[in-house]
């Protein structure tokens, strides 16, 4: 098979066009909607804690439950277009992390305030992001590490403004990352 340089250039240009079209189309399925959803939920939880105290914190499980349900719906809708078959080993790892994360505080009989409990749950969620990042897409790894650092800084350095910190740097980072993934990610 012989091609002239002009024909080769045309073929390479067609490849680049096709790649760019697919890149743009597929960005809508890279998980940005989940980041927006959880960013909003983190902000809502932080604001409930900030302005309504323990009464607001009692609503956290409902918000998290709603978030999980909406995430499942989103995953189901998006999986109609672009999907990655479920990796049972990955699900097993996540299940193990969550079970052990639930056991550890009980074993340690850890006394904790609401901020520490939220930070602990947030860190467990970020551990799941890190694992997902190692397994699937690197942006989740970096996002998990960055928010982990932000949670720790907020908890230990700025306890007086912890809930504002979580809203801005936790929820805000999730939302901004969602925009980045939607419009700029590879």
């Amino acid at each position: 098979m012989q091609l002239s340089p002009e024909e080769a250039a045309r073929a390479l240009a067609a490849i680049e066009t096709s790649r760019a079209t697919m890149r743009s189309a597929i960005r809508a399925y890279r998980g940005h909607a989940h980041l927006w959803l959880w960013g909003i939920i983190w902000i809502a939880m932080a604001m409930l804690a900030q302005f309504h105290g323990p009464a607001g914190i009692r609503l956290f499980p409902w918000l998290v439950g709603a978030g999980i349900a909406l995430s499942m719906v989103l995953g189901s809708v998006q999986g109609n277009r672009v999907r990655a078959p479920v990796d049972k080993r990955f699900l097993g790892v996540l299940a193990a992390v969550l079970v052990f994360a639930a056991i550890v505080p009980v074993v340690l009989r850890a006394p904790a305030n609401n901020q520490a409990i939220f930070a602990y749950c947030g860190l467990v969620a970020m551990l799941c992001y890190v694992i997902a990042g190692l397994w699937f897409d690197t942006y989740l790894l970096w996002l998990g590490l960055v928010i982990t650092a932000l949670i720790l800084v907020g908890l230990f350095c700025f306890p007086a403004i912890f809930w504002w910190w979580i809203a801005i740097f936790g929820g805000g980072t999730l939302i901004v990352t969602g925009f980045y993934i939607r419009y700029f990610w590879r």
């Binding site: 096709s18 697919m22 597929i26 999907r83 897409d137």
Partner: protein, 100 residues
């Protein structure tokens, strides 16, 4: 020196392989999504996918989502390698000294 692949070089198949090459290692794309993204017709896309599947360059999985039949497509490892070799061959035609 990489060689051109006559199966991949056909313009529509080139377009398809370039698009599928953008998927992650475990990802699959829906037939209709691919058709709309590449602005192809059902028949045209189906025929070229069959050729690529017979060459072992893509894997086609037919399944049901709810009660609707769906067809998902993904490049195989050999398909990715063949496409990369084809791109390298095209690049070598443009820049023979640089590649060799």
């Amino acid at each position: 020196m990489p060689e051109l692949d006559s199966v991949i070089h056909q313009p529509v198949r080139l377009q398809i392989m370039a698009a599928l090459g953008h998927l992650g290692a475990r990802e699959q794309v829906d037939f209709s999504f691919l058709k709309n993204t590449l602005a192809l017709t059902d028949g045209n896309l189906g025929a070229h996918l069959l050729t690529l599947e017979q060459a072992g360059y893509i894997a086609v999985e037919k399944t049901f989502v709810g009660r609707k039949p769906k067809t998902f497509v993904a490049p195989t490892a050999s398909g990715r390698r063949a496409f990369e070799a084809h791109v390298a061959a095209l690049t070598a035609i443009l820049k023979p000294n640089k590649i060799s």
